[in-house]
């Protein structure tokens, strides 16, 4: 038996760094083998839960397979992809999703940054304010959808009741084409503005104080400081937050499901909601897989462009 490494030491850091790997292990398992053994469970889990389903969906996307009908899957090659890409229904949902993503993310970015900027200028109660603003983000989207559905109800909702007490008429928040999409953007903004705020606040607090001090000495205006110090330093971080939110908004499902069910008609049906219908109403698993894969591809391609822009921004 070889000597074992000491369990304790008066100078743990120095001794530990000089201690060779336990020889007992080396005979049975090399360090590399040990490393593989440690990461194998996580790797297998990843393969089983993420990689395999993705590859499986990819395979199904080239077939006419239906989960309920069963039977063998027949290869139809790019038939599903062609159908999805040329479908006017898909184009309509893509436009709805685009309007939603641009509207919601823009509003959240402006509001989130504004709130973060105001909070960052406070010296007292900053922690409490930040925590309070974060509450909506901690709620389940289904719960948020349900209580907003009640609040936005034309007849019985508190929002119209408040408008009524101000002498304003009833608004059909969820049953008119334009207001329904606006309501979705509003609710998503209520819930997710804190996320942008949090990231922006992190960026704002990281701006070195001496830059502002130097600007003060030069008698720079508030706007000048904001335009030339704050914004350029926070901008890259803000863009990352925007990226996260845009990806999230792109795959919006839960709020649509609870608040409007895609209505009126299909005017608030997003791409994700439509995929759900294709997958679970008609159980057209092959088509739904191709649809999902295409959505992932769109996100990946757009993200790549975005990241390149972000890297360029950093280099500049």
């Amino acid at each position: 038996m070889s000597d074992s490494a000491p369990l304790t030491t008066d100078r743990p850091v120095q001794v530990a760094s000089a201690t060779p790997p336990a020889p007992g292990w080396s005979r049975r398992l090399s360090d590399r083998g040990l490393a593989v053994a440690f990461i194998a469970p996580a790797l297998l889990l990843l393969l089983a839960m993420s990689v395999f389903p993705l590859l499986w969906a990819l395979y199904l996307s080239f077939t006419d397979y239906s989960a309920t009908r069963g039977g063998p899957a027949h290869f139809i090659w790019f038939g599903n992809y062609t159908a999805v890409l040329t479908s006017s229904q898909v184009h309509q949902r893509a436009l709805t999703t685009l309007i939603y993503v641009v509207g919601a993310v823009t509003l959240q970015t402006v509001l989130g940054f504004a709130i973060a900027y105001l909070i960052s200028r406070r010296t007292h109660g900053r922690g409490l304010l930040t925590t309070l603003f974060l509450v909506p983000m901690m709620l389940s989207p289904v719960v948020v959808g349900l209580f907003w559905r009640f609040m936005l109800d034309t007849q019985f909702g508190v929002i119209n009741s408040m408008l009524g007490s101000l002498g304003l008429g009833q608004v059909e928040w969820l049953t008119q084409q334009r207001t329904a999409l606006f309501s979705l953007i509003l609710v998503d903004t209520w819930q997710w503005t804190p996320f942008i705020m949090l990231i922006a606040l992190a960026g704002l607090t990281a701006v070195p104080k001496y830059l502002y001090e130097a600007a003060s000495i030069d008698r720079a205006s508030e706007w000048f400081r904001f335009r030339h110090i704050t914004l350029p330093l926070v901008w890259p971080l803000l863009l990352i937050a925007v990226l996260f939110r845009a990806i999230e908004a792109f795959r919006l499902f839960d709020l649509v499901y609870i608040l409007t069910s895609g209505g009126p008609g299909v005017s608030t049906e997003t791409l994700s909601f439509h995929v759900y219908k294709v997958a679970f109403l008609g159980f057209n698993t092959g088509t739904a897989s191709a649809y999902g894969i295409l959505m992932v591809l769109v996100v990946i391609v757009l993200t790549q462009f975005y990241l390149r822009y972000l890297n360029k921004l950093k280099e500049d």
């Binding site: 239906s66 479908s87 034309t154 069910s261 159980f283």
Partner: protein
């Protein structure tokens, strides 16, 4: 650095590891591909004609339904009454939100494994379940154990037969896949204190009465009905008006919808619904379904409303109503009647049947068959009526136990001979979604009535005609 930074070619070990990973993935995929064939037989497996020996061990018989009062009523009733015959059996009625009902059942069917033994399917779900082999063919069992003469033939057909029966009939040569659990149809709920004791008899008269009532009573809308684009809400509303105005949903034999649904009668029905009825509803009611219509009635906000009978019990609860402090006071103001007629007197067929999951264990399938046999007995059907259920046997429907249980039960008995169902085909879920979204669009001003109806007919026809082999099925 403890390890050299690896560049260039992979080491032998690295290559081996990657090849092994790839092999595992390919093997898993091949295994999964091979696993697909097991359900490809199609068609429903047959249940035995006689009930197999039942277990004496403790057993839980599980149902799946959506969350509404009859679900709890069924669980309470079955646990109380069935226990007298089978004390070792516990009944569990699992519920999901109405909007998830179809998905909850069929995703489990898709997995070829269900956590329920009896699926409570809407009549229109039968085609999908039978075609996919998800529920048992109980034709022999019914012939051996059930007195089919005790039912209105169309009720027996509607909740069990596939292919679908013609309206009002039953094909005795067709197979049966379920038995009635809960009958249902729409009732007209009207305010006796606002429009008088006598309900309107024609659809046109009903609209006129509602118009006058709305004008005379500010804050109260003339009508309240289902308009939502989820479940089958807006679709049933249009189908009802379509039937009343002499329209047809489709030509079942030729599988033709285009030109049938959107014929002259169909367009007239859509025009009546959107241009005459919708203006009499409350602002923002474009997403109303069962609960919202009941809330409007209970709060005294509607002169005339339409709702499913099985969901109307809560209207008489003083704790949920502003119309009175007792059931009697509420009944002084609320009346229940069969739907007005116009060119025809058709009413929508609602309700659900019991269907045995093909993936339940043999012991549970046997117990399910025994439960169904027990449930369809005359005396049990009457007790079910007293417990708040809507039976299907004619003797139970005409019994005092049923007719005296609720003020709207007479409406159901009177409506049985007038019922019409939707399409009971495997494509039902998509057909109803197309109709729901388009009728909802018309009711909320997104489409004109004509545009909406023509779109429904065209899209539904393309669903019936589509071949999944070309790709893009479901779009």
């Amino acid at each position: 650095m403890r390890y050299q930074k690896r560049t260039g070619r992979l080491t032998f070990t690295g290559r081996k590891a990657r090849m092994a990973t790839a092999a595992v993935l390919v093997a898993t995929m091949v295994a999964a591909c091979g696993g697909q064939d097991d359900g490809g037989q199609g068609g429903a497996p047959k249940a035995p004609a006689t009930i197999p020996t039942l277990t004496e061990d403790p057993l839980t018989l599980s149902f799946i339904w959506f969350d509404w009062p009859p679900a709890q009523a069924l669980e309470d009733f079955a646990n109380e009454e069935y226990a007298n015959e089978r004390p070792n059996v516990t009944i569990k009625v699992n519920t999901v939100p109405n909007a998830n009902w179809h998905d909850a059942m069929f995703t489990q069917f898709a997995a070829r494994k269900t956590d329920f033994d009896i699926a409570i399917l809407d009549s229109q779900h039968i085609g999908e379940a039978v075609t996919n082999g998800n529920i048992l063919d109980i034709t022999d069992f019914v012939n051996e154990n059930i007195d089919v003469e005790a039912y209105d033939p169309y009720l027996l057909a509607a909740y069990g037969q596939f292919p679908q029966a013609e309206t009002g009939q039953r094909d005795e040569n067709a197979s049966l896949y379920g038995l009635p659990l809960l009958g249902d149809t729409w009732t007209m709920i009207y305010r006796k204190d606002l429009i008088g004791d006598e309900p309107p008899e024609t659809w046109d008269e009903m609209i006129s009465v509602a118009e006058k009532c709305q004008a005379d009573n500010p804050g109260v809308s003339g009508l309240a009905f289902h308009q939502a684009n989820g479940s089958d809400a807006a679709a049933v509303t249009y189908n009802t008006v379509n039937g009343v105005y002499g329209g047809n949903l489709w030509n079942a034999k030729e599988r033709k919808i285009e030109g049938v649904l959107n014929d002259e009668a169909g367009h007239e029905a859509m025009d009546v619904l959107v241009n005459k009825m919708k203006p009499l509803t409350a602002k923002g009611s474009g997403n109303w379904f069962i609960d919202e219509v009941n809330a409007a009635v209970a709060q005294g906000k509607a002169c005339i409303a339409f709702n499913w009978i099985a969901a109307s019990g809560g209207l008489l609860d003083p704790e949920q109503s502003t119309l009175g402090t007792s059931r009697e006071e509420i009944l002084d103001k609320l009346g229940f009647a069969t739907l007005p007629a116009q060119k025809t007197n058709l009413v929508p067929l609602g309700g659900m049947g019991m269907h045995v999951s093909a993936y339940a264990s043999e012991a549970n399938q046997a117990e399910a068959l025994n439960f169904m046999k027990w449930f369809e007995q005359a005396e049990i059907q009457k007790k079910w009526a007293s417990a708040g259920g809507v039976p299907s046997r004619t003797d139970a429907l005409e019994s005092p136990e049923f007719l005296d249980a609720q003020p709207f039960n007479q409406v159901y008995t009177d409506s049985v001979s007038r019922m019409r169902d939707m399409w009971n085909v495997p494509e039902y879920a998509r057909l109803v979604d197309i109709e729901n979204t388009n009728v909802n669009a018309a009711l909320n001003g997104v489409k004109t009535p004509k545009e909406a109806l023509d779109d429904i007919a065209r899209e539904q026809q393309s669903v019936l005609d589509s071949s999944s082999r070309e790709g893009g099925g479901g779009l």
